[in-house]
């Protein structure tokens, strides 16, 4: 499975991409929403996008809205990964079409739990 990590902090991109790679994803990266749209145009659909909220050029919420407006990208699972933690902001992101919302800081286990909810972790066989 393929994931696109969108964050203007290179360190944060590395952390999120590293956690996803541990879980078997191949990852692409973008530094803002506009770059991320360009990556999708060039590379085609991905399974998952992890999206920071506050970024230059195009913020994460606008990116979510743009992706959800394009039927070709309807299968992309969208997860906000951000320090924005007010109740109302989470509601806004979900209303715009984000499927999940992870608040920074987080542990790698938290990413795994979210992907499990989203059905993006391969099933483990009962022992």
């Amino acid at each position: 499975m393929r994931a696109l990590v969108i964050d203007d902090s290179r360190t944060m991109r590395r952390i999120v991409a590293g956690a996803l790679e541990e879980l078997g994803f191949t990852t692409l990266q973008a530094g803002d929403g506009q770059q991320a749209l360009d990556v999708l145009e060039q590379e085609g659909e991905v399974d998952l996008a992890c999206i920071d909220w506050n970024m230059p050029v195009m913020d994460g919420l606008t990116f979510v809205t743009r992706v959800r407006a394009n039927p070709e990208w309807r299968n992309i699972t969208l997860m906000m990964v951000t320090t924005e933690s007010e109740h109302g902001q989470i509601v806004r992101a979900l209303a715009a079409g984000a499927h999940e919302y992870l608040i920074k800081p987080f542990t790698p286990d938290a990413i795994r739990d979210k992907l499990d909810l989203l059905g993006l972790i391969p099933a483990e066989e009962p022992v």
Binding site: R74, T77, S85, E86, H87, I90, V91, A93, L94, A95, G97, A98, H99, E100, Y101, L102, I103, P105, F106, T107, D109, A110, D113, K114, D116, L117, L118, G119, A123, E124, E125, P126, V127
Partner: protein
């Protein structure tokens, strides 16, 4: 620094006598990592010195803390996910279909730790039963410490991040400083009480028991006796949900597995049915009543019965709290 054999043997004995949990050789690292914070709080550099002090002082409070430190486990919301989607797709629909009158659905969440499991159950049942849902959850744990947090319904951001679906977060929680506070409407559905799985079970009967990731800590005889006590308080036709890596097979023949998704879901074998051949040779049989104990007659509990025709119709719902379909609950 590793523990002395003497320290480990003492701790393992205390934990086994008080909780029946077996700390086998090789678990020294667990004892050391869980007890080191207690040792430091008591002014000791290491666990050996702390335990020497505990043994000399013979304070009950120390022993309680030690047992709690070694039996409390990290927990997440909707842990493993599958059992909760099984509630939506199979368990609740089956109970509704088989019961002409579905009154209050009674649930026991055993070893509930800091409350994520019973609250996840409450969120799922509110959702799947619809408006006017009637259910109550008895949530138990050995540790007063974790029960206190569970009762408060207050969780840190890091705890919230562990598996709570964002639509559930915005529907059932409000910010409270840096923490999140769960809605009173959910807290009211749960009674938290201290309970040791080795003792008599809480007053049943229950329609559903969640007993997950607990049996793995016990030896075979203790597993059998716990399962037999659960059997006694489960209604005929009720459901038992175990952890993903747990099974009744080879432990207790009075259960049959329900093939629902990849969950560990079981029901009591129907009275008079041929016992399952899957029980291990030598398994204790014949000691478990096939029907709930008459000590808990159904008529003694408050009835909220109403005709099935007045039940809210099941709204179409996604089979798991995931994916785009779940957004329908988001914008409210």
């Amino acid at each position: 620094m590793s523990l002395t054999q003497d320290t480990f043997a003492f701790v393992a004995d205390v934990v086994r006598r008080r909780s029946a949990i077996q700390l086998e050789a090789g678990k020294e690292y667990l004892v050391e990592s869980r007890l080191l914070p207690l040792a430091r709080d008591a002014g000791h550099a290491g666990v050996d010195a702390y335990i020497r002090d505990v043994r000399a002082a013979r304070r009950e409070a120390d022993l309680v803390e030690i047992v709690e430190a070694l039996t409390t486990n990290e927990t997440s919301w909707f842990r493993d996910n599958t059992p909760f989607s099984a509630l939506r797709t199979h368990v609740v629909p089956t109970l509704r279909a088989e019961r002409p009158v579905l009154d209050t659905l009674r649930v026991w969440s055993a070893a509930c730790s800091t409350g994520q499991e019973p609250y996840s159950l409450a969120m799922t049942l509110s959702d799947v039963l619809g408006p006017g849902a009637r259910f109550d959850i008895t949530a138990t744990d050995l540790s007063e410490h974790v029960l206190a947090q569970a009762r408060s319904g207050r969780y840190s951001q890091l705890e919230i991040n562990r598996g709570l679906p964002a639509p559930m977060l915005v529907r059932y929680f409000q910010r409270n400083g840096h923490d999140w506070q769960i809605a009173d409407e959910l807290r009211r559905t749960i009674t938290f009480q201290k309970h040791n799985l080795l003792d008599a079970p809480p007053a049943g009967p229950f329609d559903l028991v969640f007993l997950r990731n607990v049996l793995i800590y016990f030896d075979l005889e203790t597993k059998r006796s716990i399962l037999s006590r659960v059997h006694r308080v489960l209604r005929p036709g009720g459901f038992l949900v175990l952890g993903a890596a747990e099974t009744t097979i080879g432990v207790d023949g009075d259960w049959e597995r329900v093939p629902v998704e990849r969950g560990s879901v079981y029901r009591p074998v129907k009275p008079g049915a041929v016992p399952t051949p899957r029980a291990a040779p030598g398994a204790v049989t014949g000691t478990v009543p096939a029907v709930p104990s008459p000590a808990f007659p159904a008529t003694t509990r408050p009835s909220f019965a109403r005709p099935a025709t007045t039940l809210p119709t099941t709204r179409p719902r996604p089979t798991s709290p995931a994916g785009p379909a779940f957004e329908q609950g988001v914008t409210r």
